[in-house]
Amino acid sequence: MIHKLDPNSKIIYIFVANIAPALIGARMATASFILISIVILTIGKVLHKTAPMLEFSGLILLTVAIIQGIFHQGNTTVAFALGSVVFYKEGLMFALGIALNVINILMSFSILVLTTKPSDMVETFVHMGLSPRLGYVMSSVFQIIPQMTKTMATITDAQRSRGMETEGKLKTRIKAFFPLISPVVMNSLISTKERAIALEVRGFGSKQKKTFLNDLQKTRYDDIFRFVLILILILSIFWRVLIWLK
């Protein structure tokens, strides 16, 4: 069901999930959105796919907690000590705030990223008014990277065939860098010429308004989902105004 939502709705969700807590200004709000995201991701059966992203940022967040816990400039209240290393409450809370924000961003984006095909996403952007030329650029990146990785394997074979070593000391590895990367880069730049021509002869430069093979599909769920989101946004703006008026 989540997979069928219009990418637009998911983009609105990202927007609301990150703006509303900022307006409300409470860690609980951020935490709630993380929870909502987790629920949505679970329904969409893609929660496990967030693991690599979390791992990526988790390491940084861990060091943030350690460094801020020990050295944060407002540190006064001791939280606990590990041997001679003292952790402070202020620093840890500061790190918690950061962690919540980062995780919230990660989770809300994951909904869009993990349940939408990149090509659909780009197509939506183009329907929404992104220049088709830029749309082309974005979707071709998704295709070009696997192709370049393939080329890279061939190049590695070709250079090893000429007796080049790719493993060993740092010096050997640095020496291997140029023979491996230049052909990939050259190959991809040289093929830009042919590809540009191939696009041109298929009317890529046309001033005509473009049409689309695939139609956009918006479901009833989209309307409900969007309505709820916008309600949350309005309520949080209300909340902000109330606090401000006090």
Binding site: E194, V201, L213
Partner: protein, 289 residues
């Protein structure tokens, strides 16, 4: 249907000292099958690209004379308009894939989307051209997962879907295996039967001889001759232009066997077979057809 007329066409690539095309003039009638031959750097690809406007509109550089497709003057038109009349297929099937579509079907749609066609018409045209090229069964595959021959046929289908009157093929089979080449040549023959004007650059002289109504011989940017294959391949000076006649013609030259009706050496397997077969068996006179 449109005639192609070149008048005193001259062209020089940017940063280059030498003319790539030097004073080329010719007329191609609608529905003709034209072969272009010549050694590397003779100007074959440049000439092809001058008929779709890549020369000069994409490369810039210096240009003289003119090329007309019907009443459209190439140098003064946008490539995006020219491509509705003239399509071109290149050597490397891989670099012709747009790289932004995930299925063969969508890939063929690319040009039609740019032309702004309504969706239903797009579907009609895509189905038609995929079937014509016999790749309808691959319509949901990723373009990059096709074999070379299939990819090249997809490239041709993408052009056919745009309904051009002229199709230019620049060494369409040089990177394919024998089966892939055969698939492409068969597809090209089908197109020719549909009445589309075909212009094909090819190093396989036997194929040029078999299919072409007329052959252009280019050398160092100049048009040396534009004649029937028999006349072109019967020349004694082909060596100077870095090309060689089909194996059949070379055999008949060595044996001194000419087709008495045309006065030229034979260029295809069939013609050679009947001439040699005749002289060997000394049976009834060579059937003129």
């Amino acid at each position: 249907m449109a005639k192609i007329v070149a008048e005193h066409l001259k062209y020089k690539y940017p940063l280059s000292e030498k003319l790539a095309l030097y004073d080329i003039s010719f007329t191609i009638e609608p529905g003709e099958f034209i072969g272009i031959i010549g050694e590397n750097n003779a100007g074959k690809s440049t000439l092809c690209q001058a008929m779709v406007g890549i020369v000069p509109n994409f490369y810039k550089g210096a240009y003289g004379g003119k090329v007309l497709i019907g009443d459209m003057e190439i140098a003064k038109s946008n490539i995006s308009d020219i491509c509705k009349k003239v399509g071109i297929v290149f050597q490397n099937p891989f670099n012709q894939v747009t790289g932004c579509k995930l299925t063969v079907y969508e890939e063929v749609a690319f040009g039609l989307e740019n032309m702004g066609l309504p969706r239903s018409e797009m579907i009609d045209r895509i189905d038609y051209s995929l079937k014509l090229l016999d790749i309808y069964k691959y319509k949901d595959r990723n373009p990059f997962d096709l074999s070379g021959g299939q990819m090249q046929r997809m490239a041709i289908a993408s052009i056919i879907a745009m309904r051009p009157e002229v199709i230019i093929l620049d060494e369409p089979t040089s990177q394919l295996d024998p089966q892939g080449s055969e698939e492409v040549f068969r597809a090209v023959q089908n197109l020719s039967r549909e009445g589309i004007t075909i212009i094909m650059v090819e190093h396989k002289m036997e194929k040029i001889a078999e299919y072409s109504d007329r052959v252009m011989l280019l050398h160092e940017g100049k048009l040396i001759a534009f004649e029937t294959p028999e006349k072109i391949f019967s020349r004694d000076d082909l060596d100077c232009y870095g090309v060689t006649a089909p194996a059949y013609t070379r055999i008949c030259k060595s044996l001194g066997i000419k087709n008495k009706k045309t006065g030229f050496y034979p260029v295809t397997l069939e013609e050679t077979k009947s001439l040699i077969g005749f002289s060997e068996k000394e049976r009834c006179p060579y059937d003129q057809n």
